[in-house]
C-alpha cells in the first residue's frame, strides 16, 4: 500500500510523473528533470521530502543515548546546531545515514533526527532496540510536511513565506543549524550542494506553503533532479554508496566518525578501530567519464591498483558529462577505465564534490 504525502494532489495537478519510492508515491519530475536540476543550481527549486522519517527524541538522558547510537558526536552540538552522521551496526557497517538536530532550549523535545524513507521500519526498530531503560523516548512524527528549498535564491525567496518572528533567525542560520517557532522548523541543510533550507511544518499548512513557494518563484523539482544534484554534490545515497556491509571508512564518510573523545563508546566503534588500524581495503572516489556515455551503478572500474565498482552513476547536467561515485582499491588514483556495456571507456578519478554552489570544482 503506497503512502501519499500531504502535497500529493499538488504534484498531480502540476503534471508530475509519479513513481513509487520507499513505499511512497512521489514526483519523479514535473516535465524535465534536467530543467529542474538547472533551476536549482541557477535560482531555486522546491522538493517535497515529506517521505523522510522524522523522529523526535526526549526522555531521561537522550544525549547519552544518541552519543552511543551514532558514530558522529552529538556531544559537540549546542542548541540550534545539527550534524550529519552514520548509525552503525556492531560490525561497523552502516545502518543508515541521518541528520540530527539539537533543538533550541524550550523546544518540545531536545533532539530531532531525520532518517531515510526507504529504511524507515528498519531504523525505527533499530533505534528503539538500542534504548536502555528510560534514557530515551522516540516520537515518530506523522503530522508534518517537509520541503527542501534549495538554490542560490532560495533563502531570499523563502524568507517572506515564514512568520515574521522566524524570518530573521532563519536568514541568519549558518550551515547545519536550525531555528523554529510556532510549529515551523527551518534547518540550513540540504541534499543539493546549494544554499537553502529544509523546512518542517504542520501537514495541514503544507499545501498553502507549497503554493506560496511556487508563486514566489520556486520550481517544483522531483526525485530525478534530487538524484542528479546530490551526485554532483558528492553526497552519498544509502543503499547504493553504502549499506550494512560497508563501513564509513570505505564509503567516503570517515570524516563523519568522531574518534574523540576516545572514551565515547558508540555502536560499531571497536570494529571500526580494527578496520582503521589494519588500513581500509577500499575507498569511495569520484569518477568523470572522458567522452560521451553514462556510467551506471554496478559497472566495473579497472585501475592500476586493481578493480572496483561504480556505486552511483549518472549524468551531470551542470558538467554535461557522466559522473559517478565508485568503490575502488585504496591506492587507486588518476586514470582508469570503466566497463560500459562491454566496452572499456576512459575515466578520471577525482575527489568529490564535483559541483558546489553552482561551480564545477573538478577540472
Amino acid at each position: 500500500m503506497t503512502r501519499r504525502t500531504a502535497l500529493h494532489d499538488r504534484h498531480v495537478a502540476a503534471g508530475a510523473m509519479m513513481v513509487p519510492f520507499g513505499g511512497w508515491d512521489m514526483p519523479l519530475h514535473y516535465g524535465s528533470q534536467i530543467e529542474e536540476h538547472h533551476a536549482v543550481r541557477r535560482r531555486a527549486g522546491i522538493f517535497d521530502v515529506s517521505h523522510m522519517t522524522v523522529v523526535d527524541v526526549d526522555g531521561a538522558d537522550p544525549g547519552a543515548y544518541l552519543a552511543r547510537l551514532l558514530a558522529n558526536d552529538t556531544g559537540r552540538l549546542v542548541p540550534g546546531r545539527a550534524l550529519y552522521s552514520c548509525m552503525l551496526n556492531a560490525d561497523g557497517g552502516v545502518v543508515d545515514d541521518l541528520i540530527v538536530y539539537r533543538r533550541a532550549a524550550g523546544a518540545p523535545t531536545p533532539w530531532r533526527v531525520v532518517v531515510n524513507a526507504a529504511t524507515r521500519e528498519k531504523d525505527l526498530a533499530w533505534m528503539q532496540a538500542a534504548i536502555r531503560g528510560d534514557e530515551a523516548r522516540l516520537r515518530v512524527r506523522e503530522d508534518l510536511v517537509m520541503v527542501a528549498l534549495q538554490g542560490p535564491a532560495a533563502r531570499a525567496l523563502a524568507a517572506p513565506l515564514l512568520p515574521p518572528g522566524l524570518r530573521a533567525a532563519a536568514l541568519a542560520l549558518p550551515p547545519f543549524h536550525a531555528a523554529e517557532e510556532g510549529g515551523i522548523f527551518v534547518g540550513s541543510t540540504g541534499y543539493t550542494g546549494e544554499d537553502g533550507w529544509e523546512a518542517l511544518l504542520p501537514a495541514a499548512a503544507g499545501p498553502r506553503f507549497w503554493d506560496a513557494a511556487v508563486a514566489a518563484g520556486f520550481a517544483p523539482s522531483g526525485l530525478g533532479a534530487r538524484d542528479t544534484l546530490r551526485l554532483e554534490a558528492g553526497m552519498n545515497l544509502y543503499g547504493q554508496d553504502m549499506d550494512e556491509g560497508t563501513s564509513p571508512l570505505v564509503s567516503g564518510l570517515a570524516w563523519t566518525v568522531a574518534w574523540e573523545p576516545a572514551g565515547r563508546d558508540f555502536t560499531g566503534r571497536a570494529a571500526l578501530e580494527r578496520e582503521r588500524a589494519a588500513g581500509p581495503a577500499a575507498r569511495l572516489v569520484g569518477l568523470v567519464l572522458a567522452d560521451r556515455g553514462v556510467m551506471r551503478r554496478g559497472q566495473k572500474v579497472h585501475t592500476a591498483a586493481g578493480a572496483g565498482e561504480i556505486t552511483s552513476g549518472g549524468f551531470s547536467p551542470t558538467m554535461n558529462r557522466s559522473i559517478a561515485l565508485a568503490r575502488v582499491p585504496t591506492g587507486a588514483a588518476g586514470e582508469c577505465q570503466v566497463d560500459i556495456r562491454g566496452a572499456l571507456k576512459p575515466a578520471r578519478i577525482v575527489k568529490p564534490p564535483f559541483v558546489r554552489n553552482g561551480r564545477v570544482l573538478v577540472d
Partner: protein, 128 residues
C-alpha cells in the same frame, strides 16, 4: 496512452519507419519508447554509408535512467543521420516522430516488409 501515428510502420523493439518519396526510409523510436526511457542525454548514431543487416544493433539512446540499443528495422545502407541530436538529444523525447528522427537508410530489398502496422503495434502495447 502513447501516440501511434497511423501512417507509420513499427517494430516490436519500438522503432518506427516512414517510407519517404525517394524510396529511403526514416527511422526513429516511438513515443512509448521515449516515455519509458526518460529524458535522453546522449544519442549514438551509425556512420553514413554503413551497411546494416535487418535487426542489427546500430544506434544507442542513453537517458538519465538507462541505455537502450536501437536495431535496424530492415537491411540497407545509412544515408543520413540527425545531427541535431548531438546538442539536443531531448528532441527525441519532445518530438519522437518528427524532429527526433534518428537516421535514414536506403533499403537493400525495395519496400520494407515484415513490419507491424499501427493497429498491430497498438495491440502489442496493450498486451505489455
Amino acid at each position: 496512452m502513447s501516440n501511434v501515428p497511423d501512417e507509420l510502420k513499427y517494430t516490436p523493439e519500438h522503432e518506427w519507419v516512414r517510407v519517404e518519396g525517394d524510396g529511403t526510409v526514416t527511422v526513429g523510436i516511438t513515443d512509448h519508447a521515449q516515455h519509458a526511457l526518460g529524458e535522453l542525454v546522449f544519442v549514438e548514431l551509425p556512420d553514413v554509408d554503413r551497411v546494416l543487416k535487418s535487426g542489427e544493433s546500430c544506434a544507442v539512446v542513453e537517458s538519465v535512467k538507462a541505455a537502450s540499443d536501437v536495431y535496424a528495422p530492415l537491411a540497407g545502407t545509412v544515408t543520413a543521420v540527425n545531427g541535431a541530436l548531438g546538442t539536443e538529444p531531448n528532441l527525441v523525447n519532445g518530438n519522437p516522430f518528427g524532429d527526433g528522427w534518428l537516421f535514414r537508410m536506403r533499403p537493400a530489398d525495395g519496400a520494407p516488409a515484415g513490419l507491424l502496422d499501427a493497429a498491430a503495434y497498438r495491440q502489442l502495447l496493450d498486451k505489455a
